[in-house]
Chain length 417, copies 2
């Protein structure tokens, strides 16, 4: 059976000019994939009748299904109904029952009825209305000579419920009947091309397909299978996932919504271990990451942000001579910060971060991007790196690396963990 | 003079399938508008060579300027370079200097070089490279027979700086020749409709135009003027800015890239005051915000993340009876945390945050979203709020409000400051 193909057309000058970010079209695209309908392309066009008609005609030539989002309101700028009728060689008719229910809707909200609102009760003669419990403009479903056009309102509060309750189930029926299911493996400590080199043959797989996505500090591998049921799709994914994990080893740290922080918190929880932090350059960012995970309170005791050198000495007990001799951005200070924090907070582990994130070279002459991370557990390891980018990049990357190195230590503590 | 027209093509299967939301294309569209270039339409297409070539050819027929975003990476899926070369009837060449600088970039990060990365040093022969200080793939600027194609990398951390520093200024030159200059006023503590009501007549202004953009916790008012020179544009903006500021008073806290944290750090710096933090629910997020500002070390001493109740007592010295009687999420604990932190860190001000961000109702029975913020300076004020949203929403909003309230206290300290 040939794939059913679709295109999505987002309508609105505000969208086109980038004054609002389009979150409807991505949600629509995800639904199409789940219904086994292939999304060929998405287009955003302004409130322009001729262009919209031309786009609709071109899309209808290429695809069986065309989705429009937006342009169904009551104002002069709302042109989707007229454009769809013209592109389908049809004309508009007003549905009196819809006019009546619109008037009731206005009355129930205490809003004065103006005649321009009756426009929203129009539809091409080949179409039926799709109920919109959350707004005034109903959706429109056109079905003519084997072509389907679905018109949906743009406000997400109206669009999303209509997608979930009406349009999604309808598209699933006309789709291939197949289900599409994806799983993402999260890979850390290995660049995109190094990873590809290890799984080059697997990347040729067609069901599931395997697609790498480079993120800021890691790579996500998305495995997508197509089958009659979600269970069958999972069965297709499983052996490929096993093969990928075998090739990449512990570089795969989690899947789907798991984050490095949630995985680290999980490892500490299952081992009954606690952790604390002593941050300088990152100013509390590592603590924020750890506590972004619900349930972090069971393992994260707390931390200190020792931003000034005085504080490193006064509260964290970093030796003054060490500070003076090596400067605050040094392996020695990172080590003392981690070891003293572990003791101060009575935790099993402590992570320290000191470094220079810019904007200016530090007083102690360490270049921008030089960072020291200390991990103190049964023993203490200090890592030195030189990071690039903006102040925020350097800080974020240091936090991320601290988590990666803590995970490594926890893996080494118990390699089967 | 006829308008210069442009189209934007976003490339990537992940984008097409809605797995990520495209924020680059809206930013690009805004820049085009500011440069006086008319954006005709935006298209999103997957990693598919033939379709991309067809789209490029069609766009080049309609428009003088075509922008592509994404598909410049080192993997097999990255097809933009090849597609653009084909659509421009050109061929690709490798620039040896770029290969060398890529190798240096990898070496400096301690990442192993793989030969597939050399692909990123290719460009059509009619093109020049656009520097990318934040990633490996340079941008590409093609200029052939009066047609301009600009190819930019997709990761926002690479795309946005390239847009601001290279592509934007270049597009302004080929635009109408007029300079478009914008200034954003940042408004806090006032909703969008309340603000609009105060400046309704000013919103009718056409040069500069005034457009309000609602952000998560604040509203930005964008004043955009068009003139022969930047100086003339600024002269148009000035009187309108003065009028807006007069109407909105101290709700306008800054402009353009200023953030609430940078403004607060600036106020503390100019007054010679220091600040410290005592965080529970936010886990270090407030410290991270304060230290996101370069030069924060002059005023931010440091802080403590007292995530566990034991720590609130042990290190921060919060009275055990107070903790037991009122629970960790209470006005009394927020007050003690702020006052004790001020003393412990020997700072002029201390900010405390305690609350319940979820996911579960706390042991002491405080509902999700209940937050207490203490500001201790010459006196101590405790604020209570009930925030909605996800765990991250609640934490972020609490940090933001703490900064807003510290600013208010500093303004009251010296109303002319």
């Amino acid at each position: 059976v040939a794939d059913i193909e679709a295109e999505i057309i987002s309508v609105g000058t505000e969208l086109l000019l980038g004054q609002i970010v389009d979150t409807d079209a991505p949600a629509m695209a995800q639904t199409l994939a789940e219904c086994g309908i292939v999304c060929r392309q998405r287009v955003t066009v302004g409130d322009n009748h001729e262009r919209l008609v031309a786009l609709l005609r071109a899309a209808l030539k290429r695809c069986q299904v065309v989705i429009t989002i937006g342009g169904l309101g009551p104002t002069q700028d709302d042109l989707t109904r007229e454009a769809v009728a013209e592109a389908m060689d049809d004309s508009l008719e007003t549905v009196p029952e819809v006019v009546e229910s619109l008037k009731e809707f206005f009355a129930s909200r205490g809003v004065k009825w103006t005649e321009s609102n009756a426009k929203q009760a129009q539809k091409p003669t080949c179409a039926t209305h799709i109920p919109n419990p959350n707004g005034t403009a109903p959706g429109i479903l056109c079905n003519k000579q084997g072509k389907i056009v679905v018109c949906m309102p743009g406000p997400p509060g109206e669009f999303l419920p209509m997608l979930e309750h009406s349009v999604g189930p309808m598209l699933a029926q006309i789709g291939t009947g197949q289900v599409i299911f994806s799983k993402s493996l999260r890979v850390t400590g290995m660049g995109e091309s190094a990873m590809e080199a290890k799984i080059l043959d697997l990347l040729a797989s067609t069901n599931p397909t395997i697609a790498p996505y480079a993120k800021v500090s890691e790579v996500h591998l998305r495995l997508t299978a197509r089958a009659a049921t979600k269970f069958d799709a999972l069965k297709l994914i499983e052996p490929v996932e096993v093969a990928v994990r075998k090739r990449l080893g512990s570089a795969v740290y989690g899947c789907d919504d798991e984050t490095l922080e949630s995985v680290v918190i999980g490892m500490l929880t299952s081992r009954g271990l606690t952790v604390s932090t002593a941050e300088s350059m990152t100013g509390g960012g590592l603590g924020k990451r750890l506590t972004s995970v619900g349930g972090a309170s069971a393992v994260y005791v707390g931390g200190i942000v020792a931003y000034s050198s005085q504080l490193k000495t006064a509260i964290l007990g970093v030796n003054k001579d060490v500070l003076q001799k090596h400067g605050p951005v040094s392996a020695e200070v990172a080590q003392h910060m981690a070891e003293n924090a572990k003791e101060l907070f009575k935790a099993d582990y402590a992570i320290s971060i000191t470094g220079n994130a810019g904007p200016t070279s530090d007083t102690d002459g360490k270049p921008i991007g030089r960072v020291f991370v200390g991990i103190s557990g049964p023993t203490t390891r200090v890592h030195e790196v030189n990071l690039r980018g903006t102040r925020e990049d350097i800080r974020n990357r240091a936090e991320y690396l601290a988590l990666r190195w803590l995970r490594e230590d926890l893996l080494n503590l118990n390699p089967n963990g």
